[in-house]
């Protein structure tokens, strides 16, 4: 099957799956909503709430999947994920500082803004740490990511500790750290949608470059790619998308790891097919996870990050074992 046909078939199938999942999210939940009366006055507010949540799930799921895909392609490492570079931790730290600094009350945009700032700060620090002359070798990048991740995580733990001692804000921080798709206003969804939508669109345009980078940076340069510029741009896109996702829904892990690999298993490594399909698959995946998170306990929610970690942890171990001997340079 040519890539074009694969993409067409994939788009049809996954779009259908996404729509089905979205519909499912509208009727699933602890409160029973009869399908026929979904739009009646009695049920409409709840259905709208579920819809907003599902929509955010699509946006965040698509964003995190594509962000992970970018990193795997550029770093040529199957274990790459927004968490590897500490981008998500940076975002989480920004958010936690906002919550515990008490500035959250200043306005509803404060927490997302700080998370965003944290993500950008993290990727900037990682880049500055990892740069060797004018290039950014893969191995220093990964090391820098691990370092920034450690720093951000320990700061986060310190903040959580302080919060416990002061008896304040801990619950919010914890929910932030584990992720939640709950939204009550439309604007965070809109902002995230615009940022992530733009990021995914640009990534689709650069899908071919992602392919070419996979055979090596030097061969890619010989083929006419502006390697350093392209890498920087892709890193920025990946972190902005991650920052937007974390700012809106907290830290949801492993989506950027699981979804690209699952889709790649079915359609192959061509990024022109992989990018759009991973976005659709990521959105569907997160909706389903959220349905589970909302309904699996007899009361209350499970943070969605727990579900993705439950799936992602074993998968990460599996990846580590199969790719151990074959990591690229």
């Amino acid at each position: 099957m040519t890539p074009r046909k694969k993409l067409a078939v994939g788009l049809v199938v996954l779009s259908a799956a996404l729509l089905l999942a979205f519909f499912w999210a509208l009727i699933a939940g602890r409160a029973r909503v009869p399908v026929g009366e979904m739009f009646s006055a009695k049920y409409a507010p709840l259905v709208k709430l579920r819809a907003a949540r599902a929509l955010l799930g699509i946006i965040v799921g698509a964003g995190l999947s594509v962000a992970g895909l970018i990193l795997q392609a550029v770093l040529r490492n199957p274990l790459a994920d927004p968490y590897v570079l500490g981008v998500s931790s940076g975002a989480g730290l920004g958010a936690a500082l906002a919550i515990l600094g008490g500035v959250a009350a200043a306005g509803a945009w404060v927490i997302p803004g700080c998370a965003f700032g944290g993500a950008v700060l993290a990727i900037t620090l990682v880049y500055v740490l990892a740069r060797v002359g004018k290039t950014v070798p893969v191995y220093t990048l990964l090391l820098a990511g691990v370092i920034i991740n450690s720093i951000a995580s320990s700061l986060l733990i310190f903040l959580a500790h302080t919060a416990i001692a002061r008896g304040q804000g801990l619950y919010s921080v914890l929910w932030w750290l584990l992720g939640s798709l709950q939204v009550f206003e439309a604007w965070p969804v809109a902002v995230a949608g615009m940022a992530i939508g733009a990021g995914i669109a640009i990534t689709i345009l650069f899908a071919r470059d992602l392919n070419v980078l996979s055979i090596g940076e030097e061969p890619a340069a010989h083929l006419g790619l502006r390697v350093e510029r392209t890498k920087k741009l892709l890193f920025v896109i990946s972190s902005l998308v991650t920052g937007a996702a974390v700012a809106t829904s907290g830290l949801i892990g492993f989506v950027g790891l699981i979804v690209p690999h699952a889709v790649r298993l079915v359609v192959g490594p061509d990024n022109k097919v992989l990018v759009p399909l991973s976005a659709l698959a990521g959105g569907t995946f997160l909706i389903i996870c959220d349905i589970i998170a909302r309904t699996i306990l007899s009361s209350g929610e499970l943070p969605i990050g727990v579900i993705t970690a439950f799936l992602g942890g074993p998968f990460f171990i599996y990846l580590l074992r199969t790719h151990r001997g074959r990591m690229s340079k």
């Binding site: 939940g29 029973r32 709840l46 416990i164 709950q182 009550f184 995946f285 589970i292 909302r294």
Partner: protein, 291 residues
């Protein structure tokens, strides 16, 4: 082979979602049940039971464990965090919470059209006043005032006034790893003083603070209270801690594990019981010392 694993994983995921979807669904009420109440804090639940309005309590938090009957009431969320869907379905008239732990919780409660009552419970007087506020909100203002006054009286009676020299040095351990205790600004610290003791960690800055083992040893408590003993052998474990065998409390065998922690740390009506238990404990200490 790998594709098969993928399909299995997808099937598993979908199965979980299906299970969740079809199980334990609650029908949505047409309108609010008059007088219905939900409590998202264990102390509030205790107060509601004490005021005799438990029949109107249609939902409690997962942390609400007293009185035993509370455990049979439907769980509608965690401590301070409501399950939006259940709230929407059951449509309580009034939701009572203590300090707002989750700003989203307020939005959730408003979304469901319930009235929200937030009760401050910073110290014991606020707890008693809180009882009156709750009582007024649920329509038993008079009974609540009487109950609160009873508690105030009991509380005052149990308060002990002794000179500092006669107060035992007390260390309350809230968690063993890391070592955590109560300091100034917390209930427990206040109770200890009113009951006639001195909290060795009184001067620490955070109300619920970590403490180093060396600090405990340096301050040499005469009574050790384990609020959350990890096992039945806990007192022996304490004695086994390096450097702790020389503590006055260990040498005189005053390591207490049977005080109900919910009476010591929960800002509810049983605070008085906690005070009384501590006062008892410290009184016995003074008696032993006098001999």
């Amino acid at each position: 082979m790998k594709k098969r694993v993928l399909w299995t994983a997808i099937e598993l995921l979908l199965a979980l979602a299906v299970i969740g979807t079809v199980s334990r669904q609650v029908p949505v009420r047409e309108s609010q049940l008059e007088g219905s109440i939900m409590s998202l804090a264990p102390s509030v639940t205790e107060i509601l039971f004490a005021l005799g309005v438990q029949d109107r309590l249609i939902g409690v938090s997962t942390a609400c464990n007293y009185p035993p009957a509370a455990k049979h009431i439907r769980k509608v969320g965690h401590f301070g965090v409501p399950d939006i869907e259940l709230l929407y379905a059951l449509k309580p008239e009034l939701v009572i919470i203590t300090q707002l732990r989750d700003p989203e919780a307020r939005k959730a409660i408003q979304f469901c059209g319930a009235k929200l009552l937030t009760v401050k419970q910073g110290d014991h007087e606020e707890v008693f006043r809180g009882i009156e506020v709750i009582g007024k909100a649920v329509g038993v203002a008079e009974a609540a005032r009487k109950y609160a006054d009873e508690l105030r009286e009991r509380f005052a009676r149990a308060t002990v006034n002794v000179p500092d020299a006669q107060r035992p040095r007390v260390y309350v351990e809230i968690s063993p790893r890391p070592l955590r205790t109560a300091a100034k600004g917390s209930f427990l610290d206040d109770l200890i003083y009113r009951a006639g003791g001195i909290n060795i960690a009184h001067d620490f800055s955070q109300p619920w603070t970590t403490i180093s083992p060396e600090a405990v040893v340096a301050r040499n408590p005469e009574i050790i209270i384990l609020a959350y003993p990890t096992s039945r052998d806990a007192p022996y474990a304490i004695a086994g801690r390096i450097g702790w065998s020389g503590l006055d409390a260990v040498r005189s065998g005053r390591v207490v594990t049977d005080l109900n922690r919910d009476t010591l740390a929960r800002p509810g009506p049983r605070l008085v019981e906690g005070l009384e238990a501590l006062a008892d404990l410290f009184a016995r200490y003074r008696e032993d010392k006098a001999q």
